[in-house]
C-alpha cells in the first residue's frame, strides 16, 4: 500500500525534474549567444503610449529619442557599437507596459529601457526592469519612483518630479497671503502635483481655499467652475495633464475665470497650447523642463534645436519630446564612459555623469537617481506678442539645477 502511494507521490516529481532537465539543457544551449553579446548592437527599449490621450507627447518623445540614437550612430556608434531604439506602444496601460517590457528584455534582449509617460506605467516598467537587473531611465513625472520603496540601483529618473516642478512654479506665482483654489485630476499625477503645491504654499504663506477633484479624461468642467468662482481665490491652480489641460482651461476661460483670478498649472504643455487659440492660454503660468526659446541663452539648447530642425524639416522640439532626447543621450554617454553595457559599470558611470545635452548642466543624484536639472517657469504669450507661430511662451524664470528644491534623501527613506 505504502509502495503504491510512494509511486503516486514520486511520479509528478520525476516529471517536473524531467522538465527542469529539458529547460536546463535549453539554457545551456543558449550560452554561446550570451557570450557573443559583447560585439552586437546596443539595443534600447522604448515603451511609450503611442495610442491614447497622451499620444501627441509620446510621439514627440519618440522623435527626440530617435534623434539621440541617430546622432550617436552618425559619429560612429557608442563604444564602437551601433545603437538601435526599439519603440513599443504601451497603450497607457500598466499591464500592457509590463508585458511589452518583458518582451523587450526576454525576446529583443535589450540592454536598457528608457520611456513611459504616466506615473502608473513607469512604476510598472520599473518593477519589471529592477527584478531583472536592467537599467531603466524614466522620462515621466513621478514622486513615487524616487521613494525607497520603488527605488533600485537600476532605476533612474530623468524627468522632473512633481516636488521640484511645483516648488519652482509656486515660488514664481504664489505670494504670501494668496488664496489658492485647486482643480485636480483624480489620479496619481494630479494628487502628487497637489501635494507639491500645498507644500510649497505652506512655505510661501499662501492659503488653500478649496480642492476640487475631477475625473481623469473629463470632457465637461462646467459643473466645477461655479464652485471655484464661489471660493473667490486669487489663483486657480489646475493640476491635470494632456487633453484635460486644454479642455479645462478653455472652459474656465469661457466662464470668465481669467478676469477674476490667475490660472497656474504645474506643467504648461506645448502641444496643448497649440491645440487651442492663443487667447485661451494667454497669461497662464506653468512649469516646464524645456522650451525651445531657451536657445537664446543656453548653447546646448541651440545645438539641440538645430539638429532637430535639420532632421525634422524645421520642426521644433517640445517639452516632453526633450525628455526622450536627454534620457537617451545621458544613458548613451554613460555607456560610452563605461565602455560597454555591463549594468554595474553603466550605473557607476551614470552616477558620476555631468551632462549638458539640451538645457544646461544636469546630473543624477546619488541616493535616488533623480536628475537634478533646471526648471523653467513659462507664461503663455498674447497673440499680439507672438513673433511666429512657434513663439508661444515667455520664459519667466530659469531656476538653475539645485538639490534644494528636491526632497532630501532621508525624507525619501534613504540612509545617507
Amino acid at each position: 500500500m505504502t509502495k503504491g502511494i510512494d509511486k503516486l507521490v514520486q511520479r509528478p516529481i520525476s516529471r517536473r525534474t524531467a522538465l527542469i532537465g529539458l529547460v536546463g539543457t535549453a539554457g545551456a544551449l543558449s550560452m554561446p549567444w550570451i557570450a557573443r553579446a559583447q560585439a552586437e548592437t546596443i539595443r534600447i527599449g522604448f515603451p511609450t503610449p503611442l495610442t491614447g490621450p497622451f499620444a501627441a507627447e509620446a510621439n514627440d518623445q519618440v522623435r527626440s529619442a530617435q534623434l539621440a540614437v541617430k546622432l550617436a550612430n552618425d559619429k560612429g556608434g557608442i563604444a564602437g557599437r551601433k545603437v538601435e531604439l526599439l519603440v513599443r506602444d504601451d497603450k497607457l496601460n500598466a499591464g500592457e507596459a509590463a508585458t511589452r517590457t518583458l518582451e523587450l528584455i526576454e525576446k529583443d534582449k535589450v540592454h536598457a529601457v528608457v520611456g513611459a509617460l504616466s506615473s502608473a506605467v513607469q512604476l510598472a516598467v520599473n518593477e519589471v526592469t529592477r527584478a531583472r537587473n536592467m537599467i531603466y531611465v524614466s522620462i515621466s513625472q513621478s514622486d513615487t519612483i524616487n521613494e525607497i520603496k520603488d527605488f533600485s540601483p537600476y532605476t533612474f529618473h530623468e524627468a522632473l518630479n512633481p516636488t521640484m516642478t511645483t516648488a519652482v512654479v509656486a515660488r514664481h506665482s504664489f505670494q504670501k497671503g494668496s488664496k489658492v483654489a485647486y482643480l485636480v485630476a483624480d489620479y496619481a499625477y494630479g494628487h502628487e502635483m497637489l501635494t507639491g503645491f500645498k507644500r510649497a504654499a505652506e512655505v510661501i504663506g499662501a492659503e488653500t481655499v478649496g480642492e476640487i477633484l475631477h475625473p481623469f479624461g473629463a470632457a465637461d468642467y462646467s459643473t466645477f467652475i461655479p464652485t471655484i468662482l464661489s471660493l473667490n481665490p486669487d489663483i486657480l491652480c489646475i493640476c491635470n495633464f494632456g487633453r484635460d489641460q486644454a479642455n479645462s482651461i478653455k472652459q474656465a476661460v469661457d466662464f470668465g475665470v481669467k478676469d477674476m483670478m490667475k490660472i497656474v498649472v504645474p506643467v504648461i504643455l506645448h502641444n496643448q497650447r497649440l491645440a487651442v487659440d492663443p487667447e485661451v492660454f494667454e497669461g497662464v503660468v506653468g512649469g516646464a523642463n524645456y522650451y525651445w526659446g531657451l536657445e537664446e541663452t543656453v548653447p546646448s539648447a541651440k545645438a539641440f534645436n538645430d539638429v532637430f530642425r535639420a532632421e525634422y524639416k524645421g520642426a521644433i522640439p517640445t517639452d516632453y519630446g526633450a525628455y526622450g532626447y536627454t534620457g537617451v543621450a545621458s544613458l548613451l554617454m554613460a555607456i560610452e564612459k563605461a565602455g560597454g553595457t555591463e549594468p554595474q559599470k553603466v550605473i557607476e558611470a551614470m552616477e558620476a555623469l555631468k551632462y549638458d545635452v539640451a538645457k544646461g548642466e544636469q546630473f543624477y543624484r546619488k541616493c535616488d537617481h533623480q536628475s537634478v536639472q533646471s526648471v523653467l517657469v513659462l507664461e503663455s504669450k498674447a497673440k499680439s506678442d507672438m513673433k511666429s507661430d512657434a513663439d508661444l511662451f515667455k520664459i519667466v524664470a530659469n531656476e538653475p539645477a539645485s538639490e534644494s528644491i528636491l526632497r532630501s534623501c532621508s525624507e525619501l527613506g534613504f540612509k545617507s
Binding site: I13, R16, T17, L19, I20, V23, A26, G27, L50, T51, A55, R88, D89, K91, N93, A94, G95, A98, T99, R100, L102, E103, E106, K107, S119, A120, L123, A124, E127, V128, A131, R132, T144, K149, D150, Y187, A188, H191
Partner: protein, 332 residues
Amino acid sequence: MSVVRNVELAPPSSRRGLAVLFPGANRWRVPLSVLTLCILPWVLPSQALAVNVLIYGLLAVGYNLLFGYTGLLSFGHAAFFGAGAYATGIAIGTFGVNWFVAMVVGLAVAGFLATIMGMLAIRTRGIYFSMVTLALSQLVYYTALQASSWTGGENGLRGFTVSTLSFPGFSLNFLDPLVKYYAITIVVALALWFVSRALNSPFGAVIEAIRENETRARACGYNVERTKLLSFVLSGILCGLAGTLSAMHLSIVPLDSLHYQTSGLIVMMTLLGGAGSFFGPFIGALAFLLMEDIFSLWTTNWQLIVGVIFILFVLYLPKGIWGTLISWGKGR
C-alpha cells in the same frame, strides 16, 4: 444523479466539441489542449505574449463556464480577476507569505467575492443581470482605488516580485521566461482538467439545461438558483486563478485589471473564440492578443483593425472561430 443524463434537453455542447472533427478527441480534450498550449511559446512572437495567452485564455475559460455554458452574460468578471491578483500581491508583498499560500489566498478572496456578488446578481435576469454585475464590479474598482495604502491606488500594486518558486527539495527560477511559462501551464492544465470534469458531471448537464430552457429545468426539479450560484462561484474562482497568475507573471497589479474594460475584453475574447466550446476561449484569447501584438507594431490605429474584425465575426461568424470550425466539421 444518473437521472440527469437521461433528461432530454438540447444536446449538451460539451459532449459535442472536438468529437465531430476527430472521433474520440473529446475524451482527450484536456491533454490535447495542454499539448497545444505547450507549443505556444515556440510559435508566438514572444514568451511574454504566450504567458498572456495562457492567463487570458484561462480567464475566458472561467468566464465561458458562466456565459457559454450557463447562459448568464456577466459584465463584472474583472472584479474576480482583479481580486485574485490583488489578494495574491498583498499576501506576498505585505504579509510575506509563500507564493503557494498567496495563490490559495487569491482563490479564496475571489471565491468569497463571487459568492457575495453571485447571491446578489442571480436574483435578476437578462440585461439586469449584466447591469448588476457591472455595477458591483465597479464598486470593487472604486474600493481598490480608494484603499490606496493597501492597493497602491492609481499607481497599482507593486513590490511583490516572485523570482523563485520554492518547492520542498528544489526551486525554480521564475524570472526565466520558459520556466515561468511551463510552471503556469501546469496550473492552467489542472484548471482545464477541473473544468472538463465539471462539464462532464451532472452539474455540467444541469447548467446547460438552464441555459437552454430555465423554466423546463426548474420544472424537472432542479434547484436553478443554487446551480446558477455554484456556476457563478466556480467561474469567479477560475477567473481569480487567472488573476493570481497574472500578478505573479507581471509582478504588478494594475488598477486597470479591475476596470470594466477588462470585463469587456473577457466577453470579446470569449465571443471571438466561441462561447460554449471547451477550447474556444483559448483560441479567442490567442487571436485577440496576437492581433493586438502584430497590428500595434504596424500602426497606432490597431484598434480600428481589431474592431472591424470583431464586427465581422459578430455579423458573419457568431459562433466564433472555434465554434465555427466545429460546426463545419459537423456539417461534413
